[in-house]
Amino acid sequence: MKMGRKMIALGAIGVVGMLALSGCGRTDDTPTGEGPSAEAIDDSPATGEITIWAMGEEGENLGDFADAFVEENPDATVTVTSIPWADVMTKYQTAVAAGTVPDAIMIGSSLLPSMVAAGGLAPVPDGVVDASTLNETAEESTQVEGVSYAVPWYVETRVLYYRSDLAEAAGMSAPTTWDEFTSFAEGFRSEGAQYGIQLPMGDAEDSTQVILPFYAQAGGEVLNETGDGYAWNHDALVAALEYYGSFFTDGLAPTSGYGDSQTSSFVDGSNPAFISGPWMVSVLADMEDADWVADNVATVPVPAGSANNDSYLGGGHLGVFADAKNADGAWKLIRWLAQADTQEAWFERTSGLPAVTSALEGFTSDPRVSVLNDQLQNTVAPPSVPSWDEMSAFIETEAEKVANGSSAEDAATAIEAKAESLGTGW
């Protein structure tokens, strides 16, 4: 009976010519969750053309950067196609369904679960990378049910930015705990700033990037130990939502979130603190100048809750398609990109923090990098499950309600119920 219904559905779709499906001709030869099947990668030089898709700054820089790889592997060529971030999933899904994949692809860490769910990625074979050299949270975020589908390439984490000149004038030092963080924001306001802190608000600004860390700081875990279900800790969730909401209800943060004036209100001192990633240094330097940033802007790890001071960990991974024509070459390119010295060179080119832990040590004399390095010891990455996108959009709306004065208790209960009905999405 079940098969009969399937055939009806398939017939309906097939008849009307769902191009993506009819064009592919290959069915599910690589179901997800299959154990590592690829052969180990040997040490012979890479050969042939290696095609790779990459986004953003990485896509623009990788082509030239890979020349060094081609010099070491003269029989290989590397062709990089730069694609916009917004198109990644569509392009990925179309390519997988139609069987027109490149060899390798850059994977935004939060996209990994959706990509694995859609199928098409090959498990990482032996001999590509020594997992113990990598940032642990980043390495974990490449795994689905114990199988790693990508190699971490670079990581980014968020730290607290504040106006050191204004803090000094107010006689304040950087906060290290939740309570201190609140009085820190109050301190700015009593010194005449309009607000004390900028926090993201709602789906548009992906506010889970601070709410998830708040939750982790209160001691919460998102998934259960086996990773096959959400396991919201009610008390930690309430604490995180209450804490997030308190900044808005106390008038310390504007309910417009970062809005269009994130940097300008930071620069003019009307809202002198925010939590963001390493890229903000150059954004601020572009707005004013590098000297102004050096004199007036400080970064510190985010303040700790009752459990820890976890911050959000994002970043980019590299994966290879199961249908890649040159999988061997692609893995060799990825292995090269994951070497410590390559990672150092890549950091100098793009400011992407190395996913290889030892590669960061060369830079820790720079105080800003050392802050990032400190923060990297304590991070939380979004859970590797396909339903996280929908889950996080729901959390953002519930958190918005709390910020507008409704109860954190109700919001936490709603989030738990939503998690129950969504499941992980596998």
Binding site: I13, L19, V96, D203
Partner: protein, 313 residues
């Protein structure tokens, strides 16, 4: 059947009528040949996806099934049931109708007002005004959105102007109560130009001597407008209303670029819901939602035709 049915029948041997039929067939064949490229493209890129998504809405096709189509199940109306049990979808319907029911009269009124003003008074500057009021239609929504967001900020131009008359304005786009009205005003502003052009054409098709006769009979301006202009404009108003409601029911760009559906989902529209479900990889549910929207558009258009046509018969 008969010899004449084949187009290549010798002219002399065939009866006259048969020859003409063959000729017609040949003409028809050539016409089809010329139309073929369009028909193929239409079938593949328009008809295919339309029917495909209709079929999809009765299955559980999701992101996981892209590579394994045999795993797709026929689930009849389950998606539609799930949709109407989803608070978010119900909210998106309410929001969409809020946008449509307030936005359409407002936009129609603005368009008609502009058209009447341009048609009567301001002869000399007509060109300038036509261009001016039409500019929002042809300007990129993304560029416009940036400017509007600055205007509507809590410290923006709108609140500055309001403060001159002692009103303490809200943070328009971040206030769950005011976000949708703000979006509606922007939607009206963007679309009034199109209606102005349509209505202006309608107004100019009304013969002048009808008005002159009415004037001689002593009809005032308001009487002429309600007694003559509006009835004579009925078909044009109908066209405007139908075009506008088809567009407004699908409202997407304004909330997408201005508020991302927020705050508190107060500007989440049906199209936006469809878009986000596709993003979550739930293709079948998104297709079902799209067909619910289609049903609304078809129903509303039918109602409008009935309401505005009835007096013609």
């Amino acid at each position: 059947m008969s010899l004449t049915a084949t187009g290549g029948a010798p002219r002399t041997a065939a009866p006259l009528r048969g020859g003409m039929a063959g000729q017609r067939r040949r003409t028809a064949l050539v016409a089809w040949l010329f139309a073929l490229p369009f028909l193929v493209i239409f079938a593949v890129f328009m008809l295919g996806p339309v029917i495909g998504s209709f079929a999809m809405s009765f299955t559980d096709l999701g992101v996981k099934d892209l590579r394994s189509p045999f795993a797709v199940n026929f689930i009849a109306f389950d998606n539609f049931v799930a949709l109407f049990q989803d608070e978010l979808f119900v909210k998106s319907i309410v929001n969409t109708f809020y946008f449509v029911l307030v936005g359409i009269p407002l936009t129609m009124a603005l368009g008609l007002l502009l058209a009447v003003a341009l048609n009567s008074g301001i002869e000399r500057f007509r060109g300038v005004f036509r261009v001016g009021f039409y500019t929002p239609v042809v300007t990129s929504i993304v560029a416009v959105a940036v400017v509007w967001r600055f205007i509507l900020q809590d410290t923006g131009l709108m609140n500055t102007v309001l403060s001159w008359v002692g009103i303490n304005g809200p943070d328009w786009l971040n206030d769950p109560v005011w976000a949708m009205p703000s979006i509606i005003v922007m939607g009206a502003w963007r679309n009034m130009g199109t209606l102005m052009i349509i209505f202006l054409a309608g107004l100019q098709a009304i013969p002048r001597d009808v008005y002159e006769a009415a004037e001689v009979d002593g009809a005032g301006a308001w009487r002429r407008f309600t007694g003559m202009t509006l009835p004579l404009m009925r078909p044009t108003l109908l066209l405007g209303a139908v075009l506008l409601s088809v567009g407004f029911l699908q409202v997407f760009e304004e909330p997408f670029v201005m508020t991302q559906g927020g705050p508190l989902n107060s500007t989440l529209t049906i199209s936006y819901y469809v878009y986000s479900q596709f993003g979550y990889g739930d293709y079948s549910l998104a297709s079902a939602a799209a067909y619910v929207l289609f049903a609304f558009i078809a129903a509303l258009s039918a109602v409008q035709f009935r309401l505005l046509r009835s007096k013609d018969n």
